[in-house]
């Protein structure tokens, strides 16, 4: 059951679009749809991965954010230089909560901001010399780094610096990978192209490094791709895989290392969690090294069960039994979690607006808690993501691509969800509107949400947010009806 009927949802879209000028209206109409589970392809109903409309509030980021923030940043022993002015790196520093084990500033560098801090003279005379100097300085100060990546910000592309040449020279001198990444923010329409560019740079500069080297393989080697260990997600996933008998060779890229990435071509199967950000390299490895890849979903016990079985189907009976054993082991504790929280959350409606994966991946977890996702949308998904979403979502639910600030608020006012899951940019707007809200990018300083352990945290957090007593105190005192006790107050009566 959706919150609104199909007709009502369609009417809502029309009503919301009303305020736009004709051209903008036509454009935005293509990005909004009412879900129809019967559809095989989303193509005719929703347009995605297009430039945002000028003049509206978009929540998208840039290609640099996709490359540095998502893929390169979490690799703990690689130093990623934000090459360009200081702001891009500083304002995004450590914001994604990619956990790692290591000593910051000694052998791990995820939380630090390395930047070439461009000044006017660097724009005028070029920043290559500065970059070379910076790389040398890094090597002197942080000798335990295993590699360096150069993440270009907008100006670097605009002035045409040759960072590839600097990188090649430095790599030779240092005898370490130095990877130039051309992820200037102006490329593409969102962070999505940044993921692609980052994948391509891994393909060109990292993945073949150990071709032909000896590696002790086992028949149970897998790699986790597209898990950024937000709040410890990858750890909660990894233990399940290990418990069922698999050997996790690499984590891309949360709590991952360069060596792990270089060893990935030796695995038997690539496990892809975030399809949007790492399908590119998976496809490449499939073609070049004949490693199959599968998408899996570790949100909520139902999906975990499905995924564990799907993963096991690629292996022998030992692993298949292992998967069953793991499922069995965690079933009682999951039932306890559901027994505790489902009565408190049953029937609640959720609206989601996240990056490129979670709007569809978390649906199962909400359903396990008896909740219903009545609206979902992505910042930077492509059509293949929407194809996958249509199947997950209920009929007549609302789907919105690159939703604008205005549209999102209007949708929320009409649909009145009990909970919204989105990012920091949306959080306080909805808090002020009195709607319970969870950040689904950074898990709101909590996590992990992946795996069985994660689900327990997820359920608790949703309950904690939704049933927080503060939501009953949203009414301003002067609009409140006088409380009974006040009327009975003898002092008041006397007056």
């Amino acid at each position: 059951m959706a919150a609104l009927t199909r007709e009502e949802t369609e009417a809502l879209i029309q009503e919301v679009l009303e305020v736009y000028p004709e051209k903008a209206k036509k454009d935005r109409a293509k990005h909004l749809m009412v879900n129809d589970k019967e559809l095989e392809s989303s193509k005719k109903c929703i347009t995605s991965n297009r430039k945002s409309l000028p003049g509206v509030m978009t929540m998208r980021g840039c290609a640099y954010a996709g490359s540095k923030g998502v893929l390169w940043g979490p690799i703990k022993d690689v130093i990623s230089i934000s090459h360009g002015p200081i702001g891009c790196g500083q304002y995004s520093r450590a914001g994604r909560r990619n956990y790692y084990i290591g000593t910051s500033g000694v052998d791990s560098f995820c939380e630090m901001n390395f930047t070439s801090d461009f000044q006017e003279k660097d724009i005028v005379f070029g920043g290559d010399k500065k970059l070379a100097k910076l790389i040398n300085e890094i090597e002197g100060l942080f000798p335990l780094n295993k590699g360096i990546s150069i993440q270009s910000e907008c100006p670097v592309g605009l002035i045409g610096d040759d960072i590839e040449a600097v990188a090649k020279k430095a790599a030779k001198e240092l005898n370490k990978p130095v990877v130039p990444v051309r992820c200037e923010g102006f490329r593409g329409v969102s962070q999505s192209l940044g993921h692609h560019i980052a994948n391509d740079s891994v393909r060109d500069w990292i993945i073949t490094n150990r071709d032909g080297h000896p590696f002790e393989k086992t028949p149970y080697d897998v790699a986790i791709l597209g898990d950024y260990n937000v709040g410890g997600d990858a750890w909660a996933s990894r233990i399940l895989l290990e418990e069922m008998g698999l050997r996790v060779v690499a984590q891309w890229s949360g709590d991952g290392t360069l060596a792990e990435m270089e060893n990935t071509p030796f695995v038997k199967l690539n496990l892809l969690h975030c399809y949007r950000s790492m399908n590119y390299i998976s496809r490449y490895m499939e073609e070049k090294y004949n490693i199959p890849w599968i998408e899996y979903n570790f949100f909520g016990p139902s999906k975990i069960k499905e995924s564990l079985r799907k993963i096991a189907s690629f292996f022998d009976d030992k692993i298949k039994e292992g998967a069953e054993r793991v499922i069995e082991k965690y079933t009682p504790s999951m039932e306890a979690v559901i027994a505790k929280y489902k009565p408190r959350l049953q029937g609640k409606k959720v609206m989601l607006y996240v990056g490129g994966l979670r709007p569809r991946h978390t649906v199962g977890a909400y359903e396990d808690l008896g909740m219903e996702v009545v609206g979902a949308g992505y910042e930077f998904a492509h059509n293949d993501d929407y194809d996958r979403t249509i199947k997950e979502m209920g009929d007549a639910t609302l789907i919105y691509d690159d939703v604008t600030g205005y549209e999102f608020e209007e949708f929320v006012k009409a649909i009145k969800p009990d909970l919204i899951g989105s990012g920091i940019k949306e959080k306080y707007v909805f808090h002020k509107m009195g709607v319970p809200f969870r950040q689904l990018h950074s898990w709101d300083y909590s996590g992990p949400y992946h795996g069985y352990d994660g689900f327990a945290v997820f359920a608790r957090d949703m309950d904690m947010t939704l049933n927080n007593p503060c939501w009953n105190m949203m009414q301003t005192p002067w609009q409140e009806k006088p409380a009974k006790s006040l009327l009975k107050d003898p002092l008041l009566k006397a007056a």
Partner: protein
């Protein structure tokens, strides 16, 4: 001409164009025998591409150059 990658899923061939991140099912392929493979391919979204007919690749996925005949945005 564009680079495309063809892979096999349980539902048949899948078309993928890295440059534009377009993934779609291939609904028909003109030649699909070991000796002669390729020709005109039709996509689920209505687009059509042409691959120079050639000996079928030993294994998929396989990257190949293709010419756009029609459609695909």
């Amino acid at each position: 001409m564009a680079n495309i990658m063809i892979r096999k899923s349980d539902k048949g061939y899948v078309f993928y164009m890295p440059k534009r991140d377009i993934e779609d099912s291939i609904t028909s392929m003109e030649f699909d025998t070991p000796e002669k493979w390729g020709g005109e391919i039709k996509l689920g979204n209505g687009g059509a591409y042409y691959i120079e007919p050639q000996v079928a690749p030993e294994r998929l996925p396989y990257s190949v150059r293709a010419r756009r005949i029609d459609g695909v945005e």
